[in-house]
Assembly symmetry: C2
Homo-oligomer: 363 residues x 2
Amino acid sequence: MKIIELKLGKRSYQIKTGFGVIKNLGREIRRLNLGTDAFIVTNNRIKLRYAKNLLKPLKESGINYIFKTVADSEKSKSLTSCLRVIQELARFDQKRKVFIIAFGGGVIGDLSGFISAIYKRGVPYIQIPTTLLACVDSSIGGKTGVDLKFGKNLVGAFYQPRLVMSELSFLKSLSSRQVRAGLAEIIKYAIIKDKKLFVYLEKNYPKIINLQKRALEHVVNRCAQIKSGIIQRDETEEKGLRTILNFGHTLGHAIEAAGNYQKYNHGEGIALGMVLAGQISKELGLISENVRSRIENLIKSAGLPVFIKGLSLKKIIEAYYRDKKFIGEINRLVLIRDIGKTVIKQNVPLNIIKDSLASRLNL
Amino acid sequence: MKIIELKLGKRSYQIKTGFGVIKNLGREIRRLNLGTDAFIVTNNRIKLRYAKNLLKPLKESGINYIFKTVADSEKSKSLTSCLRVIQELARFDQKRKVFIIAFGGGVIGDLSGFISAIYKRGVPYIQIPTTLLACVDSSIGGKTGVDLKFGKNLVGAFYQPRLVMSELSFLKSLSSRQVRAGLAEIIKYAIIKDKKLFVYLEKNYPKIINLQKRALEHVVNRCAQIKSGIIQRDETEEKGLRTILNFGHTLGHAIEAAGNYQKYNHGEGIALGMVLAGQISKELGLISENVRSRIENLIKSAGLPVFIKGLSLKKIIEAYYRDKKFIGEINRLVLIRDIGKTVIKQNVPLNIIKDSLASRLNL
């Protein structure tokens, strides 16, 4: 087991990563004095497969609980779905001290975190991520949110969990495609902050895909460490430091959206976004062709897409413009000047962005 | 015009009180760099009567705007209504920088403040209260929230406005009953924190009821000052200091709820709650009969109820128990040991509470 301390004063918390960490769930809840009644948000698939792993430690510690399942889909992150879950929570919360457990992937984590932020102006919550993507990214940092029909994550709050338990044995039920999606975010951390991790991944990516215990624990913990370091310095994205976490995301989101979130999942979207960010970085003379191609090669070796299939340039550019209001100013791109070194560029010429996209279109 | 600085570091803001303060609205928005597009939440009655007072300064400063009206009722504070308003906000927020103006009483202030807290994880908002109650209480301190069917204010956030503009000329359209409701909160501030204000009110309460300019400005500003002082020391109600603002509210809420929020408005509820808190304080030997009767006399002189009509003891006690989970521990009452001096008592014997209620029932 590995432990990271995310230090945010009164809002500090631990991220525990490993095989078997979940066995201590009850003890952790008591140590942190989170409450007596656990409202566990999850989906049916996870509940069927892994509920028993939570129930044993909860029962041993005398903690009362209820499961609230939501659909295994982005639709569960709508404000309407949020309203339904919160009514259930209020119904459950009758006598004692309630807290929330987010038991699932990013959708469940974001939804549950937001509900924790606004119910009674804030109740404690724990993140128990069940996807590799959620382990290394969405479970850490307190960025919670739900979707409106006008855009994703338009409603939300910065609200930190009290504990993150990344129980890696839960990952064994993931499809190979889901594992690779998580690997995309892992590659992102290496590119933005850790050349050593990048070299490690170049050698050891098959171990991650095969969920080899030691490699997985090492890599998930390292990503949690990198993300924690950034969050500690810029909790609410006011200083612009948190922005580098969006490497590959600006164009990645546009590709995801252009495919109606059906064609490419989040990891695949940002894999493509990272290939493009590498290409734009090279085009602007920030990195050499050698660095650019190492990035593309690792992404390709990881079984992630490096060419965009079945989407038109027009559709992607349209989605890019729709998204920009949420990202902030026009054309603010996170680029790199080496592996491990980011640079933020504003007003990158649109033709460079379009050219990079066009060269990756494989219709 | 009077100005209070509410000091909360980066979240500091001014409370401007007086006749004519609204004329500076546009300049203030520009000074604080709040945005270019104002989403004004209000109701039809206020819009019809006072929209022009906002539009002139907004237009002069070139600020784009839209009005979103909600029903003039507590129902507008439901999570469902919140969802509708937020969809409208997202539709309006297309190109530039949006901010919110809460233009109304407590319902509109609480709803708009909450929407400001969660839309895009926080956008700026201004409170422009139009009731005496909102001027002295709900517009200040960033306690925002909406209702669930399981209870009032069960969903919410602490989120400070960027400015409060208490334009006192807006109060002239209030009914006498609404003015007295505001006076109840003013009396509360005097009882918990300011004997001098209490003495002033004993002499000058008719001036407040008649909305006499200088008296009104003095009293509203003094209450804003008292509330600001408390908020500065306990922004998120973690230190228990903010609790004293609930003087008269525990039993007051129960009386309001027992009457289905129809029989007594909030000010009348807490007027009764304060009479009861005085009586319980006397019963526990904390204050003399003289102090108790001064409180009752001022409340009565202000035209506020001091006897409970048409409600049974059983109904009030039931509502009291339903409410307690939100207030925190059982039987935590804010009492007084003199005018201007509060004391918090836990586990006050239920029979003392019941006796005080029974002696005030006038069926």
